[in-house]
């Protein structure tokens, strides 16, 4: 199905729903669809190539203050989908009859249409895979290529129509030296640039050579550290796990609850905001509300805002700001600092260069204390230069310390990190993050 065909299909679905409502009913409908090529690679060869063409509708039927939702798969051909859509509508209608009013129901009645189509230029995946493997000749490459169009749509019975269509790719690969010693690299975008890919691969090869040096085994203790933007992505990801949620803050479940009350604070250079305007995610949310370009969350080290969904807004009498029900950032932006990349290593001087972190979780959520592992290319640095790869280490420390009194500085350039998440569907989330030099970070195992 071509891009325009999917958009036309969704408008036809909306027209069908418009015609199928009975008096007093309201609907919202979301479309999540994609036509994705996924190719797994291992040992420099193809492990598992395939294509997934999927289309999900999420239908929300409202009558007064009673409502229910159904997610259903459809074919993308309305002649075939008419019956299952009407069956779902009838099932929801029957369910509503026995439900009480929902005091927290919220949906948009102000019509705001949006349309954002970013069609890239992607060669056939089969050809790309050949060029990727040729570039990795002689190397132990493992990874995955994901590419193709992703569609997000919204429609409601007030006539609002929103469309978000992105044709993109994301290649994530690791070059292995041996055992768990590897360099991980990502190349993503909207148009495949052979030169840009070649440069990424050359950089990965260079770092791979560093892993051939004898590894250093560090004892548990506190070490000075530089966290690359990729490592920061894992820490920011933990903060996104309810940390910025208006509902989690009000119910005291957020890991940033103490930051919100002033019982904890971060370094004044730390700032976070949800910057939909600079991200890859759609500018509309599940109930049809549009999102502001920016929602400040942390400014000057202090919490100044949160992500509030329309439902949370109703429950706690707050203004909402276009957040989805999960209240998880989809375009998190962390303000950059003053350090150049070269400054970061010289400022680190002696300590750990942490290329990636892995498998983080809370060891004490109210204290925003997090544990996790170093992974991939992490090195011991002496005199501002990489001296040796290090064996994996477990850290256990509080973000209130790491980005608080232990923070020395942030890099000037914040890197755009497009999510590689493919659970159920390809994610359209992203983060823009700097690297961070910290005075000490606690390693325990």
């Amino acid at each position: 199905m071509s891009h325009s065909a999917m958009e036309t299909y969704f408008r036809d679905v909306a027209s069908l729903l418009d015609r199928s409502l009975v008096r007093g009913e309201v609907y919202t409908c979301r479309l999540d669809a994609e036509a994705s090529d996924f190719v797994r690679l291992n040992r420099g060869k193809v492990r598992q190539p395939g294509t997934v063409t999927q289309c999900y509708l999420r239908l929300h039927l409202i009558e007064g203050s009673r409502h229910g939702e159904e997610s259903l798969t459809v074919s993308g051909d309305l002649a075939r989908d008419r019956e299952p859509i009407l069956v779902a509508l009838a099932r929801l209608r029957a369910a509503l009859a026995g439900l009480p009013d929902d005091p927290h129901l919220a949906y948009s009645t102000e019509v705001r249409d949006t349309r954002d189509v970013r069609s890239g230029s992607l060669p056939a995946a089969e050809a790309l895979i050949d060029s990727i493997l040729d570039a990795a000749s002689g190397l132990d490459l493992v990874g995955v290529y994901s590419g193709g169009p992703v569609y997000r749509g919204f429609a409601n019975s007030f006539g609002q129509r929103n469309w978000h269509e992105v044709a993109s790719f994301n290649l994530q690969w690791s070059l292995y030296h041996r055992a768990d010693k590897a360099v991980k690299t990502a190349y993503g975008g909207f148009a495949w640039d052979a030169e840009a890919f070649a440069a990424k691969m050359a950089g990965a090869r260079q770092r791979l050579a560093l892993l051939a040096m004898p590894a250093r085994l560090l004892e548990p203790g506190r070490y000075r550290a530089y966290l690359t933007p990729s490592a920061m992505e894992e820490i920011a990801g933990m903060l996104c796990w309810g940390g910025f949620s208006g509902r989690a803050l009000h119910t005291r479940q957020s890991c940033l609850f103490r930051l919100n009350t002033g019982a904890a604070e971060l370094d004044p250079s730390v700032g976070f905001s949800e910057k939909t305007g600079d991200g890859v995610a759609p500018a509309f949310q599940d109930e049809g509300f549009t999102r502001p370009d920016e929602v400040p969350l942390v400014t000057g080290g202090r919490m100044v805002g949160s992500l509030v969904s329309p439902r949370t807004a109703r429950e706690f009498a707050l203004p909402h700001n276009g957040a989805n029900a999960s209240e998880v950032p989809e375009s998190l932006d962390m303000r950059g600092g003053e350090l150049s990349d070269d400054d970061a290593l010289s400022l680190l001087d002696r300590g750990l260069y942490i290329g990636n972190l892995w498998y983080l979780n809370f060891s004490d959520r109210p204290a925003c204390r997090i544990t996790g592992m170093t992974r991939f290319a992490s090195f011991w640095v002496e005199d501002g230069r990489i001296a040796a790869p290090v064996d994996v280490m477990r850290f256990d420390d509080s973000v209130f310390r790491l980005l608080g009194r232990e923070l020395i500085g942030l890099t000037r350039e914040a890197e755009l990190l497009v999510s590689s998440d493919t659970y159920r569907q390809r994610s359209v989330a992203s983060m823009r993050l700097p690297g961070a030099v910290v005075r000490e970070m606690a390693f325990t195992l």
Binding site: T53, E70, V74, H104, A179, Y359, M373, R394, D396, L445
Partner: protein
């Protein structure tokens, strides 16, 4: 048209092809802070076509279940197989082409279930009971019921129909006072999950659990932090399952050992040369792959490649016997495995997964286990999990802790955590609970794979005692 009649209409010149059809339906209900949340229904239907051609293998999945949609997917699978054959990691000409025949059905598959109104009534009662104190700031009673019809048809004549029914109730309570927040749940988030009907509600005393869980959350608010130090550790089954999952299940996955997951989920400290001789744990450690336990979450008769499933020992008397490897991985590695090629849905290909990974019971009652500990900590219900990409250095946290002093349960402690190394931790297994301590649990949220998949896995486990474990609590 039925899947089998659709399959008969498809044409392909591949050496072998298959259609895997999945039709899952779910109903989700919740009452949060005594407010019924809107019902959420799922109807998820689609198919995956797989083709072997010229020594390669490709797949294509589609939610278009018309003949045209399926044929287009089969054609695409064939294109992938041929296009990648020269660079395929595996020569699929050497891979078995199964022709399985059989059926499977969950227990109580046709038993009457609660109506929507009856579910809301039950959840409302538990919600009211849970919101029993001003310090309880958030609480929720939930349930997800799910049915699934899986059909596998192969060009070699295979035809497998497997019908599943799942019930997954939950309770979560958040208590807050003096700047501290404690969360208590019924066996963890979606930790109560079984195949079959609603009789599981009685087995896990769901009725009345709202009040019970809330009272425990309030106790945690008043509790001191878990002390630090090396001590004996008594894990109850709802934490033992996490320990099995992360530190036995994942490291034994053969595709990890073969390197497929190194870019994402990770590798394994286990290597093929360890099979048959490596001491994974103490003599008391007996771990099985058991798809035959009726109510367990991942019981089935065939995996998604059509391999018949049977109970197999993975670790016997502490010695590693075999990995979790599907027929394809067995061919690649040249070692025996299990029937564990599993996909989480129609739109993801099968890979090596855990299914039901169980720790076989020992001979100690819970009372005897507690009585045998002079100084230690009991921990239950996982709240935090983290382990390195080789599945070795781990750190896990629990919702509930209780000191054991001179053979008796003593003070409740909050934020209990422990850390260790898989390769040595299981060797410190000192006592294994008898069948009276076993709980059949699992999780519907095991993540792995590229593209990523989240799948249902079951774990049955007794209580277990480990010695000299590094335990600690939260910030002061």
């Amino acid at each position: 048209m039925t899947p089998s009649s659709l399959f008969r209409h498809l044409g392909c010149d591949a050496d072998f092809w298959s259609l895997r059809f999945v039709d899952e339906r779910a109903e989700c209900y919740a009452v949060r802070k005594n407010v019924p949340q809107p019902p959420f229904y799922v109807s998820d239907r689609g198919a995956m076509l797989t083709a072997y051609a010229a020594g390669g293998c490709g797949y294509a999945a589609t939610s278009d279940l018309s003949i045209e949609g399926l044929q287009a997917a089969l054609d695409r699978a064939g294109v992938w197989a041929r296009a990648t054959a020269p660079k395929s990691l595996i020569d699929f000409r050497a891979v078995p082409r199964p022709a399985p025949q059989g059926v499977y059905a969950s227990p109580e598959i046709d038993a009457r279930g609660r109506t929507r109104a009856e579910w809301y009534e039950l959840l409302a009662e538990e919600s009211v009971a849970a919101g029993c104190d001003p310090r309880i700031v958030d609480w929720e009673a939930t349930v997800e019921t799910r049915t699934a019809e899986h059909r596998l048809l192969t060009s070699s004549g295979g035809d497998v129909v497997q019908s599943y029914r799942f019930v997954m109730p939950g309770i979560a309570v958040t208590a807050h006072a003096d700047g501290d927040t404690q969360v208590r749940t019924l066996n963890g988030y979606r930790g109560l999950a079984q195949q079959g009907g609603e009789s599981m509600l009685e087995r896990f005393r769901y009725v009345g659990s709202g009040r019970r869980v809330a009272e425990e959350a309030l106790q945690l608010l008043l509790a001191p932090n878990c002390p630090s130090g090396k001590t004996d550790l008594l894990l109850l089954p709802d934490q033992v399952i996490l320990q099995i999952h992360e530190a036995i299940g994942h490291p034994l996955e053969l595709d990890r050992i073969l390197g497929d997951e190194r870019n994402f989920a990770g590798t394994s400290f286990v290597t093929l040369d360890m099979l048959g001789s490596y001491r994974y744990g103490s003599d008391l450690l007996n771990v099985t792959f058991d798809p035959t336990c009726p109510e367990e979450l991942a019981s089935y008769a065939f995996d998604d490649d059509g391999t018949p499933a049977e109970k197999v020992y993975l670790i016997r008397n502490g010695i590693l016997e075999r990995p979790l490897g599907s027929a394809l991985s067995q061919t690649r590695a040249g070692v025996p495995g299990v029937a564990n090629a599993r996909a989480d849905n129609w739109n993801r290909p099968p890979i090596d997964r855990m299914a039901n990974i169980n720790l076989e019971p020992g001979d100690a009652s819970l009372t005897e286990m507690i009585a045998g500990i002079e100084r230690g900590v009991l921990m239950s219900t996982n709240s935090s999990w983290s382990i390195d990409d080789s599945r070795n250095k781990f750190q896990f946290g629990c919702e509930w802790g209780q000191l054991i002093e001179n053979g008796r349960l003593a003070t409740v402690v909050k934020n209990p955590n422990y850390r260790g190394i898989s390769a040595s931790f299981w060797r410190s297994l000192e006592r294994v609970g008898d069948p009276s301590t076993v709980q059949v649990l699992g999780t519907p949220y095991c993540g792995k794979g590229e593209p990523s998949q989240v799948i249902r896995v079951g774990h049955a486990a007794p209580a277990c005692v480990f010695t000299d474990v590094d335990v600690f609590g939260g910030e002061a």
